[in-house]
Symmetry: C2
Subunit: 232 residues, 2 copies
């Protein structure tokens, strides 16, 4: 089986390779805006000023507004009638709820993955894990973080359920902003790495019970790491 690591929102996963790179402006704006929110350039509660953002991005308000509507459906901004869009604020309970949901999704994905994943698929995850360990050793936090997410996404992708993958990605995206805050200290980081080691081992053994348990623990720890740095 070939794992589809791309979301259904980027549909030409196997399009002819010589296709002209036709980056639609829509996607570009959506990505930029999302990044601005995730990276905190647009803090929670901020009203999005279409004129200002539009000029900084160098586009007119029309495609910008379309992108905002897209992000509204994604749950990153709220649409307030006659007052535009405001960056959504996540309180402690909402973050906790999202993590609970992610746990459910990952455990479901793990169950399917243990059934349908090929040795190759699992090997690919192992590769990501090994790279991540390297980053841990060298202290490259950013790259570590990205590989970390890729591994979780990869496990979900193993379940071969596109909708599951999309929903999981959406939730992961919403939490990116939060996780940026949670600067864990070295001891917690070491714990996280140990958990990841166990995740990979359980996956390679296709030991669903162990995999499910450690995934659950891993997400509980993620909650512990961020919960104190949250507003309400």
């Amino acid at each position: 089986m070939v794992v589809a690591l791309v979301s259904t929102q980027t549909p030409d996963q196997n399009g002819s390779t010589n296709r002209i790179e036709r980056t639609s402006l829509h996607d570009a704006i959506v990505t930029r805006l999302r990044d601005m929110i995730i990276e905190g350039h647009l803090p929670p509660g901020t009203r999005i000023n279409e004129g200002q953002i539009g000029t900084t991005l160098g586009v007119s308000r029309t495609p910008l507004r379309e992108a905002i509507k897209y992000l509204a459906s994604e749950g990153l901004v709220d649409l307030v009638p006659s007052r535009g869009a405001v960056v959504k604020t996540f309180g402690a309970k909402e973050v906790r709820d999202m993590i609970d949901l992610i746990r459910t999704l990952e455990q479901f994905a793990a169950a399917r993955a243990c059934e349908v994943a090929t040795a190759n698929d699992i090997g690919a995850i192992r590769d990501l894990h090994d790279q991540m360990i390297d980053c841990y050793r060298t202290g490259d936090r950013l790259q570590y973080y990205k590989l970390n997410q890729a591994i979780h996404s990869g496990i979900v992708a193993l379940a071969d359920n596109a909708t599951l993958y999309d929903v999981h990605s959406m939730l992961q995206t919403r939490l990116k902003r939060i996780r940026f805050i949670g600067h864990e200290g070295p001891e917690k980081w070491a714990n996280a790495v140990a958990e990841h080691e166990e995740i990979i081992a359980a996956l390679e053994a296709r030991d669903l019970d162990r995999l499910s348990a450690v995934l659950g623990r891993h997400l509980t720890m993620a909650w512990e790491r961020v919960k104190d740095s949250l507003p309400a």
Copy 2:
């Protein structure tokens, strides 16, 4: 606890009751378009002609396009560069995957509901159920169908997890179109009613194992009912 039956996308659930009904055009168009897709007026694979739809709805292309982007993020349409939006086609596997995911979500919701729901909350579900039974007796299929959905949404709402509720609603919406197709015969209908009876009983007893099992069976049956009327 007060069950929030509204999605976060309609934020003023407890706003002052004398608030002017300010139906934003955006929401109106989104709802209309969604209904047109669900009810089959825009069959899967159809290209959405902005000019035509715009004139029929009596609005200009600008807010219409914004609504289309919103639905694209919801997963009801695909965005094809330079060719606009096409109504998404769901094959058999995708529908099956979605039902698998809904099962996972409902079982998770059930677990939380058994913990946190009040007797009142459960009583409200029971009321919906009784109404639904009436519709079954009188043969009112449409109302039966609506109450059926309301019960499932209600159980998810009991879990008191807004994100969970939103995701579940989104998936339920995507499948509405499919379920319209699946005209079950009287014997299957009777089975579905019996399952619902058991769901309510298990919920009132807060018997998670039984509730989880019957919810799972219920969704498997839902799949059996629709699977033969699907394209690929």
